[in-house]
């Protein structure tokens, strides 16, 4: 099995996996499992469900590997799968009450939420935002959670998956301008939520 070079594009890795190179798939999982998990987690709000959905996303990639065309962008294809699975999962969960990330862990411990106990493995973010208080983080997560689904979806694809607006438009099946509008509204809402921390924002600038 050929070694996977770090500069190989996602599409090259996928083509190699189509030819039977399993190491290429391992590399793809390493590159994307974190962002996919976060995207799914912010949609379904339950870590164990997010874990299962993330696994399903990659299994769908395996099942449909032969259909992948080299001309397509792998990330677009991957998040299209993830989005569809999230929608399916949300439909299933819609009839059930599920804990929110900002829901207190216990009745007698209102100060700690699920997001507080989840590990934050974003080292660069840790370095940059070491001064960001837990309160600010909770405010951000709460603001994102309260976004309308279409705005949250665009926000997550842009901020978590780091996809360009053009690809988000392709994944969501909406015009690019609509995507940008939704993103603008999402940012405005987040800005309102963060208005108490305006001084901190100014300091960052």
């Amino acid at each position: 099995m050929a070694a996977v070079r770090g500069d190989a594009t996602d599409e090259m890795l996928m083509v190699r996996y189509q030819r039977g190179d399993r190491e290429a798939f391992v590399e793809l999982v390493r590159r994307y499992n974190r962002s996919v998990f976060n995207f799914v987690l912010r949609q379904v709000h339950q870590p164990n469900v997010a874990e299962d959905v993330t696994q399903d996303v990659f299994l769908r990639v395996v099942q449909n590997a032969a259909e992948f065309k080299h001309e397509a962008r792998f990330s677009t294809w991957l998040y299209t799968i993830a989005r569809n699975l999230c929608i399916d999962q949300l439909r299933k969960l819609s009839h059930r009450k599920h804990p929110s990330l900002e829901q207190p862990l216990a009745q007698n411990d209102a100060s700690r939420t699920l997001s507080d106990v989840l590990p934050d493995g974003h080292p660069e973010a840790d370095a940059e935002r070491s001064v960001v208080s837990a309160q600010v983080r909770r405010t951000i997560v709460a603001a994102v959670d309260t976004l309308p689904d279409d705005q949250r979806e665009v926000f997550l694809l842009r901020e978590v998956a780091n996809l360009p607006f053009k690809d988000i438009a392709e994944i969501t099946g909406t015009p690019e301008n609509t995507v940008k509008s939704r993103m603008r509204y999402a940012l405005e809402r987040l800005k309102e939520a963060l208005s108490d921390f305006e001084e901190y924002a100014r300091a960052l600038r």
């Binding site: 083509v15 189509q18 030819r19 039977g20 399993r22 798939f25 999982v29 390493r30 499992n33 974190r34 962002s35 998990f37 976060n38 987690l41 912010r42 870590p47 874990e51 993330t54 696994q55 990659f58 299994l59 395996v62 099942q63 590997a65 032969a66 997001s115 989840l118 590990p119 934050d120 493995g121 974003h122 973010a125 935002r129 960001v132 983080r137 951000i140 997560v141 603001a143 994102v144 997550l156 842009r158 901020e159 978590v160 360009p164 607006f165 301008n177 940008k180 993103m183 603008r184 940012l187 987040l190 800005k191 939520a193 963060l194 305006e198 901190y200 924002a201 100014r202 960052l204 600038r205």
Partner: protein
């Protein structure tokens, strides 16, 4: 850029998705417009402060995914496995290296085919004789002309007289080469007949080529006659040629000429000379007629019939391809006559000088006299013995 356009591109500016020109224009606009500067700064601050903290996936997730992938691959239906195999093969087949290799093999293969076909071609050239349109049946191999070959290919009538060197000296190099090519090229189908070498180049080559490869029944008869002629069966050849000439076919004239040739072989020049003259008169003005006149002249000359020989040579002084030869023959005859006259006058002067000479010395002129006399008739004697007329 105005505020309206800025509002459309502000998000692209925030996420660095603008091209350089628009990016610069948007930034310039922000410098002048307080409103847009405020919007841009607010969005940037929100994005920076409001960056969503990412959650690290559970440690076992990656392993679970890879295990599940392994199991799924093993459970893949045959159809999907075949699809994957086809995909793999297709991906190899579509590689440019493979296409280049296939193209290279194709080029090499076609080149080999062409080279093989070319190597089978005979080293031959189709030549037109003296500007005459090329004959399909005539194929002449190109053979390098060595001095010996050229000497051997010298025109038969003069070569037969034992003076090939002299002839070569008289002719210009170009002319000699042209004659050598036209009269005695290496024949592919048959070796040239010595007696036929006396014929004019055009007639001889045409008849020899076509006789060797008859194309129809008439040609077949002519070919059979030629075969008999070449095999030395002159009586049979003469009979066959006479029959062809009597039928008045396309090659009747040639046949009558060959019949006369065959007669010369069987009965000699005394019988052949009138026959040649007859062929000449029947085909006056044609190549066959000229050749017949030439042969008649040669026969008469061999027989010592100088006046008839001269007459026939003179007829050829205006004939294309024969004029030079006829002129040369006439000159030689003049020289021979002059030599004979000198030889006849020489014995009358010599006795006066010989009177004072010792008897032994007188033996020399006496001995020379027959030689001089022989020199006077040298031409005819040599022709008689060398031209194989008899």
């Amino acid at each position: 850029m105005d505020c309206e356009k800025f509002d459309r591109v502000v998000l692209d500016l925030l996420y660095d998705e603008l091209d350089e020109l628009t990016n610069a224009a948007a930034k310039r606009h922000m410098e002048h417009c307080t409103r847009c500067r405020g919007i841009g700064a607010g969005l940037r601050a929100t994005r920076e402060v409001g960056a969503l903290p990412l959650v690290e996936p559970p440690p076992g997730l990656e392993i679970r995914i890879l295990d599940a992938e392994r199991k799924l691959r093993d459970r893949l239906p045959l159809r999907q496995r075949m699809g994957r195999a086809i995909s793999i093969m297709a991906s190899y087949a579509m590689r440019p290296q493979l296409a280049m290799a296939a193209l290279l093999l194709l080029m090499i293969g076609s080149s080999l085919l062409l080279l093989r076909e070319r190597s089978n071609e005979r080293n031959a050239a189709h030549v037109a004789e003296r500007g005459v349109p090329e004959n399909e049946s005539e194929t002449v191999a190109i053979v390098p002309i060595t001095p010996q070959r050229e000497k051997a290919r010298a025109p038969a009538p003069l070569a037969a007289r034992g003076e090939p060197d002299r002839v070569a000296k008289k002719e210009s190099p170009d002319r000699a080469e042209r004659r050598a090519r036209s009269v005695a090229p290496a024949k592919r189908y048959a070796e040239p007949e010595p007696a036929l070498g006396r014929l004019g180049g055009g007639i001889e080559e045409q008849s020899s080529g076509s006789s060797a490869l008859p194309t129809d029944e008439g040609e077949s008869d002519f070919g059979a006659a030629m075969s008999a002629y070449r095999d030395g069966r002159y009586a049979e050849a003469q009979q066959r040629f006479d029959e062809i000439a009597g039928r008045g076919e396309a090659r009747a004239a040639e046949a009558s000429l060959y019949a006369a040739q065959a007669l010369r072989h069987t009965a000699g020049c005394p019988a052949a000379a009138p026959r040649f003259e007859q062929v000449h008169s029947a085909n006056a003005g044609t190549q066959v007629g000229y050749e017949a006149a030439w042969q008649a002249a040669e026969c008469h000359r061999a027989l010592g019939n100088v006046s008839r020989a001269r007459y026939n040579y003179q007829l050829l002084l205006t004939a294309t391809g024969y004029a030079d030869r006829a002129q040369a023959a006439l000159s030689e005859m003049d020289e021979a006559s002059a030599a004979a006259v000198a030889a006849r006058s020489a014995p009358k002067a010599r006795p006066k000088a010989a009177a004072a000479a010792p008897p032994a010395a007188t033996a020399a002129p006496k001995a020379k006299k027959p030689a001089a006399a022989a020199g006077a008739s040298k031409r005819s004697v040599e022709i008689d013995t060398s031209n194989a007329y008899r």
